[in-house]
């Protein structure tokens, strides 16, 4: 397993473009969160300090940071599709197999890399959230800190799921740009089907179905936190109440999709003549 990971890391880290994109997708959110936690003086007119809004309180900080940094996953998605696209365009996939890598090992080396970077990203986010939280949070009891850390697990699963989808599209169309276009098409398709079901039956039923679609299922894992922040500010407004928690069935759906995408990528490669 280490051998396969090592192999793929060499391919990625010696490539300048992927190095930059990896930096952008994992280190940038880290810094943005860090900066936003600082006191910012806007041209001397007023001081903006997000910490005073209470958004860096435990446990809400877990929700906020994971939601925010998962928006940067698109950059690493480019790396994932291009690491497949490049293997095809350089014909190095063929050469790897000739050199004695099995098709299964090839897919696994890509998948391990995805898991590795998702893990690194999760650990980074956990650390930065913990630090900022400890600095700002009004509650510092251990039992409160570890509340809702399942957002971190959700974040990890969300990343692995999304990148596995990219891996599958990369294998399917062999070209990075087309694979990204497919992602966009899938996004539109999910909404069209959602619209059709709403038209035929009702909105609630359509939403239930939509929660099983891959992109929506991944998005649903970590719901948007803004409403929750508003909720905590205006507890008397009951129309703001919504279900923001991470549910195990949501994780299960995404894990199911992840397994399917990795398996389909392998089947595709297995059946293909190179």
């Amino acid at each position: 397993m280490l051998r396969l990971l090592n192999l793929e890391l060499q391919k990625l880290l010696l490539n300048r473009t992927s190095k930059i994109l990896i930096f952008v997708s994992f280190i940038l959110p880290f810094f943005v969160i860090l900066l936003s936690s600082l006191k910012i003086n806007v041209f001397g007119f007023f001081t903006l300090e997000l910490g005073e809004l209470g958004v860096f309180n435990f446990p809400i900080i877990w929700h906020l940071t994971t939601f925010f940094s998962s928006q940067f996953k698109f950059f690493f998605a480019i790396v994932v599709v291009s690491m497949i696209g490049n293997e095809y365009s350089n014909k190095t996939l063929k050469q790897n197999l000739i050199d004695g890598l099995s098709k299964k090992e090839f897919i696994l080396s890509k998948f391990y890399t995805i898991v590795f970077f998702s893990l690194v990203s999760t650990v980074l986010i956990a650390l930065i959230s913990l630090c900022i939280g400890l600095y700002y949070s009004s509650y510092n009891e251990f039992s409160i800190i570890i509340q809702q850390t399942n957002f971190l697990l959700a974040y990890f699963i969300k990343l692995v799921g999304f990148f596995s989808l990219c891996l599958f599209f990369g294998m399917l169309v062999k070209r990075s740009a087309f694979a990204l276009a497919f992602l966009f098409i899938l996004y539109i398709l999910e909404w069209i089907i959602f619209g059709l079901i709403t038209w035929q039956s009702d909105h609630q039923f359509a939403e239930k179905i939509q929660n099983f679609f891959p992109l929506k299922a991944m998005y649903k894992l970590i719901d948007q936190p803004f409403q929750r922040i508003a909720m905590s500010k205006f507890p008397e407004k009951t129309e703001l109440v919504y279900d923001y928690a991470v549910h195990w069935h949501e994780m299960l759906i995404v894990l199911g999709w992840t397994g399917l995408f990795v398996f389909l990528s392998y089947r595709l490669l297995k059946l293909r003549d190179l």
Binding site: K91, T92, D99, S102
Partner: protein
Amino acid sequence: MESILTINNLTKKFGNLTAVNNLSFTIKKGNVYGILGPNGSGKSTTLGIVLNVVNKTSGDFNWFNGSTSTHDALKKVGAIIERPNFYPYMTAEQNLKLVCKIKGVNESKIEEKLDIVGLLERKNSKFKTYSLGMKQRLAIASALLNDPEILILDEPTNGLDPQGIHQIREIIKQIAAQGTTILLASHLLDEVEKVCSHVVVLRKGVKLYSGRVDEMISSHGFFELKCNNQELLITTLKNSDLFTSIKTNDDLVTAFLKAPMPSDAFNKFLFDKGIILTHLVQRKESLEEQFLQLTDNTKN
């Protein structure tokens, strides 16, 4: 002798097209094999199948008497397919390190193999800055990294300039001299003739011949003759019943032998008949002539 690769009734169909048709042959240790065939005769497809990149339609093959799985067997094989494929943004050394990781061999071999192909000085240059000849030589170094039991080369001199072709051939000869089994696919006949001891001839995916190069067709060679009295020569030859056919091209007469005959005996025979030759050459068909004869005979 130990067999390295055995192919049994291998067939590959691309839709309606049958690229490889019921092909069987065995590669024994220590020989240099050539796979000959015109473009599109199924050479590369056959190699692709045994190298795990093309899926077979039917039949089977096994490496090293079936003692290991194909992808493990490939770690003991060195192969170059058509064009050198490496990561353009990595240097030669980095590319070879990657191959070491895949094959699970020690990285200490890298310098030694780069030296064999004469690229040691350029080991820190990026692959994309290499010329085609250098790329091909790097591919050979990469194929040699694991000290393979068999080296598979698919058109290794394709697209190279004469100097590059010469360099590659010298390297192949060196490797063959060390006793490594080599399988060389090519449509260049003199290339195969120069290095191979055994040959498999393919046409449209069908095997026409496999065996030693010098036994390719049952021919006893031919004489090329010139003489001042050509008419007498031809009638004498026709009446002698020693030859299968006699061809005339301007003043050169070519006579194909029915049975082996040394040139001195033949010369004496003609001299006794009162014919004095001005030109006498005894030859065997070159591989090219044999190949064309073989592929021509089996047309239709």
